[in-house]
């Protein structure tokens, strides 16, 4: 945060605008700035959970270990699915920005479905781990793994709810092109959740103990 970055005072002649555009000091809308601000704080949230995992890596005194229980091929596919959902998300945004509402809904639904596939994969992974003897109570690994990936999964689920809400609103004609920023902001949240998974997948699954 430095003092030089603000775009300077809004020129008086721009101050009244057309009644629609809000003239802001940075040129960004309040909503977009708010989402980025929130995402900055989310870094601290997920960082804490990841750090707790790191602290307890290799320190479990009993119970299954990561190497024994991870199914890397399965999780790789899951990760790929989530990654592709980011693509469908930007395509959804591009669609609404050019006024193509049908495509918007197609891509929004695609994103939600890919996200749901990821969650289904998580659920499958969790249940198989539990069957194989790893629960949140079992050891340090179980606790830190389930809490970290569980938090991430809840974030994805909330994102899916948002996407489906947008899809529904668009279907009812309440998401016109002028409101495309809503989709952009939902997209920011979605991509962030994807980015967190990029870190988790590498650092938790791939980096050996």
């Amino acid at each position: 945060m430095t003092v030089t970055e603000q775009a300077g005072p809004a020129a008086p002649e721009a101050a009244h605008g057309d009644g629609h555009g809000h003239v802001t000091n940075t040129g960004l809308s309040n909503e977009k700035l708010a989402m980025w601000t929130f995402l900055g704080s989310e870094c601290l949230l997920f960082g804490a959970l990841i750090s707790a995992y790191f602290l307890y890596r290799g320190k479990s005194t009993s119970g299954p270990t990561p190497e024994e229980i991870y199914d890397i091929p399965f999780t790789s596919v899951s990760s790929f699915v989530l990654l592709m959902s980011s693509l469908t998300m930007v395509l959804a945004l591009a669609a609404i920005q050019r006024g193509d509402h049908r495509r918007l809904r197609v891509w929004l639904m695609a994103t939600a479905l890919l996200g749901a596939t990821f969650i289904a994969g998580q659920v499958y992974e969790f249940t198989s781990f539990i069957r194989e003897g790893l629960t949140i109570k079992t050891n340090l690994f179980g606790s830190s793994f389930f809490v970290l990936t569980g938090f991430h999964g809840v974030h994805v689920t909330l994102g899916i709810v948002m996407l489906l809400s947008l899809w529904n609103l668009s279907l009812r004609g309440k998401l016109p092109r002028e409101k495309s920023e809503v989709v952009e902001i939902a997209g920011l949240y979605w991509h962030f959740v994807d980015v967190v998974w990029i870190v988790i997948f590498t650092v938790i699954y791939l980096i050996p103990t």
Binding site: M1, V3, Q6, G8, P9, A10, A11, P12, A15, D18, G19, H20, G21, H22, V23, T24, N25, T26, S29, N30, E31, L33, A34, T37, F38, G40, S41, L44, L45, A48, L49, A52, L55, Y56, K59, S60, I136, K137, N139, L140, G142, S143, S144, F146, V147, F151, V154, H155, L158, V161, M162, L166, K174, P176, K179, E181, V182, I185, A186, Y189
Partner: protein, 718 residues
């Protein structure tokens, strides 16, 4: 601009039911407060609520002091004592100083930057209600089996289910999570407001110092709250679901708790002090009739403290056994952070140096702040010397230190702020004579209470003990501290009497600018109309309002240029104002100018303000429901249904909130082209909130995008 033909009430008169619930339209009455989204009303509610919690926290303090007045005290059992000192700390930090600061942030920041409200007015209301419900949730513990009793810092595994099997700690966990949501959401709101909604010409380096400190504190809150959120979640998972984060038997590390807590906890103390520093930086120049010395340096020091505050937290853990390298590194960083703080102190001294000083009550509190905070800062510097800290830690020396900085610092500053801005907020002045009595009793009581604690600590009296034996030689100083605490209580009552007396009896009208001050909030009426400024100001410099009033001649003497009488020099403000009131019968601030015209409504001026709403309250209400459900769920799964209902209420409120436009469509008045637009996603006439029209616009707080902290934090991530 064509105006409506006859004046109407302030709130929009059109159909008020774009959302599920009919929006209230009456600008007066209890419902108008319950559904308000006006930052000024929200600020007042924060202030009043925080003051009530101050009284509760103060009673807890008195109970502590009564128990410790004599050796082998029998007023409180050990268990009761644990609850009382835990709640005292938790209350003062989370329910008093933070919300009092929030009261001022909310009230002043938009005014000081020349805006009409914050970026997200409904979110602002939500923050307040979440704070209130969080505080009530915490205090309900007294009636529901016992208050939190693990200290305000909740060290694990003492707070684990093994050693704290009751609900005490659960109340603490969920209560703080609710408060955390309120604070984080408020921080996002303020950051966006200050970055995006400044009046034309108000660059960042022309903002008042208080606004700057609001911005820095908001960033600290934004980044620190997630850390304690995670710590509390980990503890909750341990207690409710059997995880092992702090379970030593499974290899869990208690020091993890301490790291996470203090990573939050240290920035937290800067969150507590920076706002008060900002207030002092406003008060001193006004009553010294000199600009703040070294404005850019004070701003940069504040920013530096904000950054450096992240590099010192281990100084709370010097005796935990981290090893000499860690301890030395953080010892050095802690010494370094004294530098920007010291710089500020020197700048404040330089501000009053050779100023034309008026020792009004706010000025006395501000000067008191400098003295008391410096003492507290010095004891802090002694803490940074880790070998010496080995002796001090966990003794009353630490208690002395943090009370000098938090009470002597934050509370003195806040009291100064209350006296200073009271006339702006309420339109009349607090009585000066009772104010001075308040100040001196506060100062004497405070020092009598906490100065002896330095010595008690060095003599070996540990913290957090419910009693001590009389052979230890601690009795006399403890008794002195107890007497001092009752002097503080008397001072508090004098303050309350002053409020009553000034409100009911003297009611000295303040006028716009009773102190002849320097910043924009003094350029509008007292109290300001709901739209703050008739026209959005254009700013040309720091202290722009001052430069609109005064220029200097060749010899540096002030010349008033806006037609008002030259401001107060040594005359008592209250006397002048009372004299003026006696002459012309209404409040004109004492400069003899003709009475101000009646304040016009927003509607008359064609200003669209955001409309009141029920949804912030409803959404906030869902949080304690979630809390109780989750908390009791660990004993009986059926309570998770309650949590589920809370979640449903939260989602439904947020969804409805997103669908509701931020401002209702108004009667057409020909001003612009967007009357009668169909209700789109969160659309509606953009509330024109000044040049920085970052109104509660389209999907700002709809679609759960920036509500996710609220949504998530209730059950899981933030």
């Amino acid at each position: 601009m064509t105006t409506v033909l006859e004046p109407t009430i302030d709130t929009p008169a059109g159909p008020a039911d774009s959302g599920l619930l009919r929006r209230p339209t009456n600008p007066k009455g209890a419902w108008s407060w319950i559904t308000t989204v006006d930052h000024k009303r929200i600020g007042i509610m924060y202030g009043v609520t925080a003051f009530v919690f101050f009284l509760l926290g103060g009673i807890e303090a008195l109970l502590i002091r009564v128990q410790l007045a004599k050796p082998n005290g029998t007023v409180l059992s050990a268990e009761a004592y644990n609850q009382i000192f835990t709640m005292h700390g938790t209350t003062m930090v989370f329910l008093v100083v933070m919300p009092m600061s929030a009261a001022f942030f909310n009230y002043l920041a938009p005014l000081q930057i020349g805006a009409r409200d914050v970026a997200f007015p409904r979110l602002n209301a939500f923050s307040f209600w979440a704070f209130l419900f969080g505080g009530l949730f915490l205090y309900s513990s007294f009636l529901l089996g016992g208050a939190p009793n693990g200290g305000w810092f909740g060290y694990a595994p003492n707070t684990s289910i093994t050693f704290s099997p009751g609900y005490n700690i659960d109340f603490w966990i969920f209560g703080l999570q609710i408060l955390g949501i309120a604070s984080t959401v408020g921080a996002v709101n303020l950051i966006v407001t200050m970055l995006n909604m400044r009046a034309p010409g108000m660059t960042l380096m022309r903002m008042p110092v208080f606004t700057w400190m609001t911005l820095v504190s908001s960033f600290l809150i934004l980044f620190a709250m997630p850390v304690i959120t995670v710590a509390l979640f980990l503890l909750m998972f341990d207690r409710n679901f059997g995880s092992n984060f702090f379970n030593p038997a499974a290899g869990g590390d208690p020091v993890l708790w301490q790291h996470l807590f203090w990573l939050f906890g240290h920035p937290e103390v800067y969150i507590l002090i920076l706002p008060a520093m900002g207030m002092v930086s406003e008060i001193l120049p006004t009553f010294a009739r000199k600009p703040l010395f070294g404005y850019p340096v004070i701003v940069f020091s504040g920013i530096a403290i904000g950054f450096m505050g992240w590099g010192v937290w281990v100084h709370h853990m010097f005796s935990v056994g981290l090893g000499p390298v860690a301890v030395s590194a953080f010892s050095v960083s802690t010494m370094f952070i004294a530098v920007p703080t010291g710089v500020k102190i020197f700048n404040w001294v330089a501000t009053v140096w050779r100023g034309s000083l008026r020792f009004t009550t706010p000025m006395l509190f501000a000067l008191g702040f400098i003295a008391m905070f410096t003492i507290g800062g010095l004891s802090g510097v002694t803490h940074s010397v880790s070998p010496h800290d080995r002796q001090q830690t966990d003794t009353y020396y630490v208690v002395a230190h943090f009370h000098y900085v938090l009470f002597g610092g934050a509370l003195f500053g806040i009291m100064g702020g209350i006296y200073y801005w009271w006339p702006k907020i309420f339109g009349y002045l607090l009585d000066e004579r009772w104010g001075k009595v308040n100040f001196w009793t506060w100062l004497v009581g405070f020092n009598l209470t906490f100065a002896p604690m330095h010595i008690l600590g060095l003599r070996g009296m540990p913290r957090r003990i419910y009693t001590y034996d009389d052979s230890l030689g601690l009795a006399a100083l403890n008794m002195m501290a107890t007497v001092g605490s009752f002097v503080i209580a008397v001072s508090t009552m004098i303050f309350m009497y002053n409020v009553w007396y000034s409100t009911k009896r003297r009611r000295i009208p303040a006028g716009d600018d009773p102190w002849d001050a320097r910043t924009l909030e003094w350029a509008t009426a007292s109290p300001p109309p709901d739209y703050n400024f008739k026209e959005v100001p254009v700013v040309h410099s720091v202290d722009d309002f001052w430069h609109q009033k005064y220029t200097e001649d060749d010899e540096g003497r002030l010349i008033r240029i806006d037609g008002g009488k030259p401001g107060p020099s040594t005359a008592d403000v209250a006397f002048r104002a009372a004299a003026a009131a006696a002459v012309d019968g209404n409040g004109t601030g004492g400069d003899g100018a003709p009475p101000a015209p009646p304040v016009q409504t927003a509607h008359e001026l064609g200003i669209h303000m955001p409309s009141p709403s029920y949804y912030p309250l409803l959404a906030a209400l869902s949080l304690p429901i979630l809390g109780y459900g989750m908390m009791y769920g660990r004993s009986s799964g059926s309570h998770y249904v309650v949590a589920g209902l809370g979640a449903v209420l939260l989602f439904a409120s947020i969804y409805a909130w997103g669908m509701e436009p931020s401002a209702e469509p108004e009667e057409p008045h020909g001003h612009d082209g967007h009357d009668g637009e169909p209700a789109l996603v969160g659309a509606g006439p953009q509330a024109e909130l000044g040049a920085g029209d970052g109104a509660d616009g389209p999907a700002g707080d709809g679609e759960g995008s920036d509500e996710s902290p609220g949504t998530g934090n209730g059950e899981a991530g933030a």
